[in-house]
Every structure is written in structure tokens, then in C-alpha cells.
């Protein structure tokens, strides 16, 4: 795990992978992609860091407690967005009837709850992949 070339290339390439993952998540309602694929890309970048630098360094960057908290918080965020629909007088997870901001077509922030839910799913999938990988690799 002490290979200089792997470490430097990993350090160089991780920001680009993460920017691409955030792009796929944020443009989930305009272009192909969405929460699941973008979250998988984000999680893959963190797994790449773990593979190059070892578990101890990665556990400092992304501690187990934090990733579990983020992962549980994403479900609560999803349910809270769904409950907004009930508070505003519609059904659970209703979009237009609950009065979310619809905006113009093909802009980044339109389509009501879809970007918010996609953001939650992306964070959820990324933290799930990291938590599973760290839990399995954590032996000894």
C-alpha cells in the first residue's frame, strides 16, 4: 500500500471523479443519470482513496460514525420531503400539488422535489458504498 505512483495519481484524479459524480447527481432531471449512478461514482472515488492509502488514512477522512449518520440522515431527508406534501394539503411525496417551485424547463433548479430527492439518493448511495466497503475491509 506504499506505492508512490498510485498515491499521486489517485490524489490527482479524485477531484475530477467527484466533480463528475456531483454533475451527474445535479443534472439528474435534465440529462441521463440520477441519484443512483451519480452516488455510485462518488462512492467509487472514496473507495479508490481507501485502496490507495489504506484503511487507517481513509477512516480519518470518512469515519464510520459520520458515514452511518449521513446514511441514516438521507432517508430522513427523503421522508421529510415527502411529509411536506402532507403538510401542504396533498398526498405523501406529491410534487406539483404541494406547491414546490416548478421553474422553467431545463434549468438546474426546476421540477419541484425531483432535484432535492435526487440529491438525497446520491448522498445515500455514496455513503452506503463507503460504509459497506469499510465494514468488509476493516478486519484485523
Amino acid at each position: 500500500m506504499d506505492d508512490l505512483i498510485v498515491k499521486i495519481i489517485t490524489r490527482t484524479i479524485i477531484p475530477f471523479i467527484q466533480v463528475y459524480g456531483i454533475f451527474v447527481i445535479m443534472h439528474g432531471h435534465i440529462s441521463p443519470g440520477g441519484g443512483f449512478s451519480g452516488g455510485a461514482i462518488l462512492g467509487a472515488s472514496l473507495i479508490l482513496y481507501t485502496l490507495a492509502y489504506g484503511y487507517k488514512d481513509a477512516a480519518k477522512k470518512m469515519p464510520h460514525k459520520v458515514s452511518v449518520m449521513v446514511e441514516s440522515g438521507a432517508i430522513l431527508w427523503f421522508m421529510a420531503i415527502g411529509l411536506v406534501g402532507i403538510i401542504m394539503g396533498g398526498n405523501f411525496l406529491s410534487n406539483k400539488a404541494a406547491g414546490f417551485y416548478m421553474g422553467n424547463l431545463s434549468m438546474l433548479f426546476n421540477a419541484g422535489l425531483i432535484p432535492l430527492v435526487t440529491l438525497g439518493i446520491g448522498i445515500k448511495v455514496a455513503s452506503t458504498m463507503v460504509t459497506l466497503f469499510h465494514t468488509i475491509i476493516e478486519e484485523d
Binding site: 440529462s31 441521463p32 443512483f36 459497506l132 465494514t135 468488509i136 478486519e139
Partner: protein
């Protein structure tokens, strides 16, 4: 010749059936637990291929609707949306079975199903 043409017209479905049988063969004949998990993953992949092929339309475009063009043919979006659930379940099953395999390896020191069976039967007979 009609059978050959029929196979070419259903080539994706035929490939998914063959993949399913390959995965099932791997699960049935190999006694290594890790290879069994790989076989289950191959079977899941064949189901994904089957489902997405059902939604394919010739010369259809990806279902990103543009406001101007009303007459374009789009691929069926429903199987693509439904198969996301299948992918998530596949990931969950793989992760859980891998964690169980780690526990089994720590308990028995081997991943071979037959050896584990022999160890267990030997313990109960004594």
C-alpha cells in the same frame, strides 16, 4: 432457416436465457461459496438484460423529452425505471452474502462447501 431468423430477431432474449443458465450452472456445481455468489450475480445480470431489452424500440431515442420535437419515438422508460430496484436489491444481497462468507471463513478456515459439511458432520458424530 426460419428458426435461425427467429433467433436473430430475439438475440437479446436468447443471450439472457444463456446467461441465466450459465449462472445457475455455476451455483449448482461449484462448491466454493465465493463462486456461488458470482453465479448469483450472473443470473441477476441476465434478468437486467432481459428487462431492458423488453423496453427497447427500434430507432427509439433515450427518453429525454424535448419540447420542440413531438413526433420522435422514445424507448420505453418504464422497464429502465423498474430495474433500478433490481440493481439495488442485487447490491444488497451481494454485500450481505459477502459479510456472511467472511464470518464463515473465520469460523471454519475454508470456503469450500463440502469441507464445511464434513467438519460439521464430524463434530456432531463425536
Amino acid at each position: 432457416m426460419s428458426i435461425l431468423r427467429s433467433i436473430i430477431e430475439h438475440i437479446n432474449y436468447v443471450a439472457s436465457a444463456i446467461l441465466f443458465v450459465i449462472g445457475l450452472y455455476t451455483v449448482l456445481t461449484h462448491s466454493n461459496l465465493l463462486k456461488k455468489v458470482i453465479g448469483i450475480n450472473i443470473m441477476e445480470t441476465s434478468i437486467f438484460l432481459f428487462f431492458v431489452s423488453v423496453g427497447y424500440v427500434t430507432e427509439g431515442r433515450a427518453p429525454i423529452v424535448e419540447a420542440g420535437s413531438n413526433h420522435a419515438i422514445y424507448v420505453n422508460p418504464l422497464p429502465s425505471a423498474l430495474i433500478l430496484t433490481g440493481i439495488v436489491v442485487a447490491v444488497s444481497i451481494t454485500a450481505y452474502s459477502l459479510s456472511l462468507i467472511i464470518r464463515l471463513y473465520e469460523a471454519y478456515g475454508t470456503l469450500d462447501m463440502d469441507e464445511i459439511m464434513e467438519l460439521r458432520s464430524g463434530q456432531t458424530n463425536e
